[in-house]
Amino acid sequence: MSGLSDDDRSEVLERNLRVLEALLFASSEPLDANSLLTYLGEGANIGELLLTLQSRYATRGVNLVQRADKWAFRTAEDLGFLLRRDEQENRPLSRAALETLSIIAYHQPATRAEIEEVRGVATGKGTLDLLMEAGWIRMRGRRRTPGRPVTYGTTDAFLDHFGLETLGDLPGLDELKGSGLLSGRLPPNLQIPLPFDDAALRDDEDPLDPDDLGTDEDQD
């Protein structure tokens, strides 16, 4: 190479860079420097060439990136959003989720244990997560009882979604009976609570800790 003029040298460089561009573009997987070297002219400094190529593409929409000892072109990270698309899908709530949600609505603030007591089956954390993701329930605080379980309550989005002005609009026992949702043959001691409508914590609730992830210590 030392015998080459500057022009020749630059021509060789450009040619090598073109070859690397084409190889890296067309390859179905990242390529390591050694296997790239076999396509270049003799005496080529593959490491230097790759760094040159990398710096040339540094500001472009595609970058040359190193993955372990291999190289590949990748869409620039800040443009990743172009390659993502959000799609919304309307899906009906499962029965388990509906039941859990309704218990929280009527019995709030309710702990997971209380929900399970009404439902008679264990409630998966996934169901609560789903309802929180839907934005319909929230963690209110922690009950002042052993284990300090998290208390759940509904959100304003819940009211909004179900067309309620306040939780007090949820029908009571007589209305549920009247609408046929509850049958007549009920034990006289069956009670349906008046939903608790206050965002403020109750006497038996503690606030959540600032970094509280809402994990019940005695569960999960």
């Binding site: 390859s27 993502r84 009906p92 029965r95 509906l98 009527y106 009404v118």
Partner: protein, 268 residues
């Protein structure tokens, strides 16, 4: 050249002459190597080694007819379209050799020849185009697409749907479910009439003494819950037995014990 190429294939089996045919012969006989009569004509024309525009259509027609004749002499079946072309070329030949009468409405020999030339040129042009096309830098052969495509990633988010009715139905449903699971009906022993009758028959046996019903049933009346059904069924059965004339009943005072005995057999 193409003839020899095809000769190496299974079509060799067509020959009924085991002798090695001459090179010229091979080309002519291998009709199966051609893709139709036009292909054969084009091949024959090519061998005139002149521009297609300058070929002698008459000579070409004669060569084709001679070829078909050779093939038929060798008792090789010739596909119908080759024969149709042979007939057409024979007609063309006659038109070219016989001067056209002024009243003749048929196309002239020259026009027919031009038509054939056009078709040959067009086929050849398409062949050349095909090879030019295949010689282009083709995708996946000389030119390459992105090897590691980064497909658009679709993130699905669920928008959950539920109506107030669904919610209330779910709530009411599980509250009711809670109630019904607490209710477990009490298992009662019930004596059927038949059962009571069988038992009475057995207990009274052949006893002609007055014995109270309760003492007969003493063993069964231990469980308070069962007393009512046992007494009721036994009393009803005893009335039935009286009606049948099998036992006598006697009660000395209101709410007093009920006595029963076997009726004497000689007094039916």
């Amino acid at each position: 050249m193409r003839g020899t190429e095809f000769m190496t294939t299974a079509q060799t089996d067509w020959f009924d002459t085991p002798a090695e045919p001459a090179a010229e012969d091979v080309m002519y006989v291998d009709v199966g190597g051609y893709e139709g009569p036009l292909d054969l004509l084009l091949d024959l024309a090519r061998r005139q080694k002149v521009d297609l525009a300058a070929i002698s259509v008459l000579a070409l027609a004669e060569q084709y007819l001679a070829f078909i004749e050779t093939v038929r002499e060798k008792r090789i079946e010739v596909a119908a379209d080759y024969l149709v072309m042979a007939a057409w070329l024979a007609y063309l030949k006659s038109r070219l050799m016989v001067p056209q009468a002024p009243s003749d409405d048929e196309p002239s020999g020259e026009m027919l020849a031009a038509m054939l030339q056009f078709r040959l040129k067009r086929l050849e042009a398409m062949r050349r185009a095909a090879s030019q096309l295949m010689n282009r830098p083709r995708l996946g052969f000389q030119v390459y697409a992105r090897g590691m495509p980064e497909p658009i990633e679709i993130r699905r988010t669920s928008l959950w749907e539920a109506s107030l009715y669904d919610l209330l139905k779910a709530y009411a449903g599980q509250r009711e479910r809670g109630i019904t699971t607490e209710y477990s009906p009490i298992q009662r022993t019930v004596w059927s009439l038949q059962e009571a009758r069988d038992i009475l028959q057995r207990l009274i046996g052949d006893s002609f003494e007055w014995v109270s019903m309760d003492s007969y049933l003493a063993d069964y009346l231990v469980t308070p819950a069962e007393r009512a059904t046992i007494r009721a069924s036994s009393f009803a059965s005893s009335l039935e037995l009286v009606r049948l004339g099998q036992i006598d009943l006697r009660q000395t005072e209101t709410f007093g014990p009920l006595f029963m005995r076997r009726r004497k057999a000689d007094r039916p």
